[in-house]
C-alpha cells in the first residue's frame, strides 16, 4: 500500500474527477469512523514512537518507526493503567514505558473514507484508492486536518497500479511514508513533549538575578497549574508527584536564593508554600506505600505474604480520605487566593519587587555564590558524620544535599552541560544513599504507628500485625546496611576530582 499526500487542499472531489478522466472508477459507500489516540499526560508513548489508537472497542498499538502493529486488543472500557491490561505483548511493551501513569484520551479524530475501485474493461477491480479525510473532533470539527490518499494494488495487476500511481504523481501528489500519528498531532497543533517536569529554562549569565529567579518561579507555577486539574480528578499518582516537585522547587528558591526579592513578600510566600506543601503530604505518602505493596510483600517470607493485605486495605481507606482532603484544599478560597497573589507577584514590572539587595546582581555571580556555599556545607557535614555517625546528622546532610541539588538544577543552563551532568551524577549517588536511609527510617516509624492505630477486624488483622512486625524488622536491617555504606558514598562524592570541578565551575569570579 502506498500513501500519498495531495497537493494543497485538494479534496476527494478533485481526486475523483482526476481518476474518472483517465480510468474507470466505481465508488464505494463512504464510511466515517471515530478514532481516539491515547497517551499519558507526558506523552510517553509518543516519545517512544508508539501510537495507541482506539476505534470502537478495538485498540491497536502501532510502532511508527518500525511501521508495524505491535499488538491489538479489545476492551469495553478504555484501559487506563498497565495493570488493566491482560498478559500479552501489549502489556509487556507498555509496562516499562508508562509505569504507573494513566493513559488518557489525547486526541479525538473523525476519519472519513471515500473508497474507489479502479476497473478494467471487464469491470474487474485492478486497484483500490481510498481518500481519507481527518477531522479533529474537539478542536475544529468542520475543518479537515489532513488528507491522505491510499493506493492499494490487487495481486497480478501491477501495471494498472503503476498507471494510477503515475496519474497521481503527475497531478502533484507526493508519495510519503511519513507516520500518521505525529502528522495528525502536528496538524491539530499539539506538541507532545512540551510538558516536562524537568527544568528547561535558559538563563543568560548577565541576566539580573531577580529576572532570572522570576523565570524559574514562573515555570514552576505553570507546572503546578497544569497538574492541579488532574489531581482533583484523581487520574494517576504522578500528577501529585509532579505538582509537589514544583512546590518544593518554589520553596527552595524562595529560601536559598536570598535577597533577590524584598524580605516581606519572601517571608509571606515562604509561609504560603509551606502550607501548600503540607496539605498534600499525607496523600503522597499513602500513594507511595500503596504503590510499594508488591515490593513489601516480596520482602516477607512466603508464609506471611498474603497476611499483610489488611494493611493495604486500611491504607487504601485512608488514601481515599486524603484524596478528598487534597481536592478540597485545591478548591479552597485560601489556596486560590495564594495562587492568584503569587501569580500577580511574579508578573513583569511589579513595583513591589525592586528594593532587594541582590535584585540586580548578575545571575551567574549569585548562582556561583549560592552553589559554592551549599557545597561547602555538604562537605563539612559529611566529614562530621564520618566522625560521629549520628542519625540526625545524616538527615541534616540529606536536606543540605537537596538544597545543593536544586540550586545546581536551577542554574544548570549557565554552565557547560557535560560538567554539570558530571556533578549532578555524583551528587545523585550520595543522595541515593541518604535517601534510602531516610526512606527506611520513615517507613519503619510509619508502619509501627499504623500497626498500633489500625482497627482490629478479626484474625486477618492480627495476622497482618505479625507481617507488619516482620516487615519492620526487615526494613531496620536494610537501614543499618545502608548506613554502613555512607562512608564510601560520601568519599566518592568528596573526592579530588569533584572538588576540582566544583572549584572550576563555582568559584565566584568578578569581572572588572
Amino acid at each position: 500500500m502506498t500513501q500519498f499526500y495531495p497537493p494543497e487542499s485538494s479534496g476527494f472531489h478533485q481526486v475523483e474527477e482526476l481518476l474518472a478522466q483517465e480510468t474507470k472508477i466505481s465508488a464505494e459507500p463512504p464510511t466515517s469512523e471515530r478514532l481516539t489516540l491515547h497517551d499519558t499526560f507526558d506523552w510517553r508513548l509518543y516519545n517512544n514512537a508508539l501510537a495507541f489508537i482506539q476505534i470502537g472497542a478495538h485498540y491497536t498499538l502501532h510502532n511508527w518507526n518500525r511501521q508495524n502493529t505491535v499488538d491489538q486488543c479489545t476492551f469495553n472500557e478504555a484501559p487506563q493503567f498497565v495493570w488493566d491490561l491482560p498478559p500479552g505483548l501489549l502489556r509487556t511493551t507498555l509496562l516499562p514505558i508508562i509505569g504507573v501513569r494513566a493513559l488518557l484520551p489525547r486526541l479525538d479524530i473523525n476519519r472519513q473514507q471515500h473508497g474507489y475501485r479502479i476497473l478494467n474493461e471487464d469491470e474487474k477491480t485492478v486497484a483500490r484508492i481510498t481518500l481519507e479525510t481527518y477531522y479533529a473532533l474537539q478542536q475544529a470539527p468542520d475543518e479537515p486536518l489532513l488528507y491522505v490518499v491510499l493506493l492499494d494494488s490487487v495481486r497480478g495487476y501491477a501495471k494498472e497500479t503503476e498507471h494510477v500511481r503515475q496519474i497521481l504523481q503527475a497531478a502533484g501528489f507526493r508519495e510519503s511514508d511519513a507516520p500518521m500519528a505525529p502528522g495528525l498531532l502536528a496538524a491539530a497543533g499539539i506538541t507532545p513533549g512540551s510538558y516536562t517536569v524537568k527544568l528547561n529554562i535558559n538563563l543568560r549569565p548577565d541576566m539580573q538575578a531577580q529576572t532570572a529567579v522570576t523565570l524559574i518561579l514562573r515555570s514552576q507555577l505553570q507546572i503546578m497549574k497544569m497538574n492541579e486539574k488532574y489531581i482533583k480528578q484523581d487520574i494517576d499518582t504522578e500528577f501529585l508527584h509532579d505538582y509537589r516537585v514544583a512546590v518544593r522547587r518554589t520553596r527552595s528558591a524562595l529560601s536559598q536564593i536570598k535577597a533577590v526579592f524584598p524580605e516581606a513578600p519572601t517571608q509571606r510566600f515562604r509561609q504560603d508554600f509551606k502550607f501548600i506543601g503540607a496539605f498534600s503530604n499525607q496523600l503522597r505518602d499513602l500513594d507511595v506505600y500503596l504503590l510499594a505493596e508488591e515490593e513489601y510483600k516480596s520482602q516477607l517470607p512466603e508464609f506471611l505474604q498474603d497476611d499483610i493485605h489488611p494493611l493495604f486495605e486500611y491504607l487504601a481507606e485512608k488514601r481515599a480520605e486524603a484524596q478528598q482532603a487534597v481536592a478540597a484544599g485545591l478548591e479552597s478560597a485560601e489556596y486560590r487566593r495564594i495562587i492568584q497573589e503569587w501569580e500577580h507577584f511574579l508578573e513583569e514590572g511589579n513595583d513591589e519587587r525592586e528594593t532587594a539587595v541582590k535584585a540586580t546582581l548578575p545571575i551567574l555571580e549569585l548562582a556561583q555564590q549560592r552553589i559554592h556555599k551549599h557545597y561547602r556545607r555538604v562537605i563539612k557535614k559529611g566529614h562530621r558524620i564520618l566522625k560521629d555517625n549520628r542519625d540526625e546528622h545524616l538527615h541534616s546532610l540529606r536536606i543540605e544535599c537537596k538544597k545543593l541539588r536544586y540550586l545546581i538544577e536551577f542554574f544548570a543552563s549557565l554552565f557547560p552541560p557535560e560538567k554539570i551532568d558530571q556533578i549532578v551524577r555524583q551528587l545523585k549517588q550520595l543522595q541515593s544513599n541518604l535517601g534510602d536511609f531516610n526512606d527506611y527510617t520513615v517507613q519503619e516509624t510509619y508502619l509501627l504507628h499504623v500497626a498500633r492505630e489500625m482497627p482490629i477486624r478479626g484474625q486477618p488483622s492480627r495476622d497482618a500485625l505479625i507481617a507488619i512486625g516482620c516487615l519492620v524488622g526487615e526494613l531496620h536491617r536494610k537501614r543499618e546496611a545502608v548506613k554502613s555504606e555512607f562512608a564510601a558514598a560520601f568519599s566518592s562524592f568528596a573526592n579530588k576530582e569533584n572538588e576540582a570541578l566544583v572549584t572550576e565551575l563555582f568559584t565566584p569570579r568578578r569581572k572588572k
Binding site: R117, D122, E123, K124, T125, V154, R155, G156, Y157
Partner: protein, 248 residues
C-alpha cells in the same frame, strides 16, 4: 492447508458454481484461499472477471515455479486469489504424460502455493484421464456434485469403479446433490434414495435456481450479490458440512 477438488466425470453438473461459491465462503471466513481453474473452458475464471491467461512458462502446470505464482490474480474479494485457466489447459494431460511420475505432477506444481494459502480449490474439467489422476493425487478431498438422475448415478458408479481399479482410496470422496428440481418425480425419488446408497454423501441438496444462473451474467458469486437467497443458504450449508468432515 487443505486442497479440495470439485470434480465430476460428467459435464454441466454445477462444478464451477460450487467451486466459485465455496472459494468465496472460505475466503470470507478469513482463510487465505486460492481457486485454481483447471478447465480450458475457464468458467470459474470468467466468473471472477479475470482474463483466461497464464504466463507462458507456467503453461502445462507440470513444474512448480515462479511463473505459476506470477500468474495468480487477486479477486475483487478479500483473501481470495485466482489461478486462471488458460486455453492451453486443454493439453494438460499431454504435458503431464511426458514427465516422470506423470500422475503426481500437479501435486508438485501446487506445493509452493500450499505455503501461502490455507485452502486451495480446484475447479476440474470433466475428464477421466491423466489429468484426473493428477487431481486424485493432489487433492485431500474430492467433492463430487451429482444431479439426481439415473444417468448421473450410473456415471458415478463408473467413477467408483475406476478409483477402485486404479488403487485410489475412496475415503475422501464426498458427494452432494446438485441442480435438484423438486418438480421432477425422478429427482425427488433419487434425492431420497441416493444418499443412503452412497458412502461419503453429504446431507446437502443444492436446488436448481435461477439465482445461480444469474452468476454468469453478473460475474459474481451468488453469496456476494444475493447473500440471503435460497441459493446462498444452500452453499453455506454445503460449506458447513464440508468443514464438519475435516474436523472428524
Amino acid at each position: 492447508m487443505t486442497i479440495i477438488a470439485i470434480y465430476s466425470n460428467k459435464g454441466g453438473v454445477g462444478k464451477t458454481t460450487t467451486a466459485v461459491n465455496l472459494a468465496y465462503l472460505a475466503a470470507q471466513s478469513g482463510s487465505p484461499t486460492l481457486l485454481c481453474d483447471l478447465d480450458p473452458q475457464s468458467s470459474a475464471t470468467f466468473h471472477f472477471r479475470v482474463q483466461p491467461k497464464i504466463k507462458k512458462k507456467a503453461r502445462g502446470l507440470a513444474t512448480p515455479g515462479q511463473a505459476i505464482e506470477d500468474s495468480i490474480k487477486g479477486s475483487d474479494y478479500a483473501n481470495l486469489d485466482i489461478l486462471p485457466a488458460d486455453f492451453s489447459h486443454r493439453n494438460l494431460d499431454l504435458s503431464f504424460y511426458d514427465q516422470k511420475k506423470p500422475t503426481t505432477r500437479l501435486r508438485k506444481a501446487l506445493k509452493p502455493l500450499t505455503k501461502v494459502y490455507e485452502t486451495i480449490f480446484l475447479d476440474c474439467p470433466p475428464t477421466i484421464n491423466i489429468l484426473a489422476e493428477n487431481i486424485f493425487n493432489a487433492a485431500d478431498y474430492l467433492l463430487v456434485p451429482i444431479i439426481p438422475t439415473t444417468l448421473s448415478l450410473r456415471a458415478h458408479m463408473q467413477l467408483l469403479d475406476f478409483l477402485r481399479d486404479n488403487g485410489y482410496k475412496q475415503k475422501n470422496l464426498l458427494t452432494f446433490l446438485s441442480m435438484v428440481d423438486r418438480r421432477k418425480k425422478l429427482h425427488r425419488e433419487l434425492s431420497e434414495a441416493m444418499p443412503q446408497k452412497l458412502k461419503g454423501a453429504l446431507p446437502v441438496s443444492i436446488p436448481y435456481l435461477s439465482q445461480v444462473e444469474q452468476m454468469g451474467i453478473r460475474r459474481e458469486p451468488v453469496l456476494a450479490f444475493a447473500p440471503h437467497s435460497d441459493a446462498a443458504e444452500a452453499y453455506e450449508l454445503l460449506w458447513d458440512e464440508l468443514q464438519k468432515k475435516w474436523e472428524t
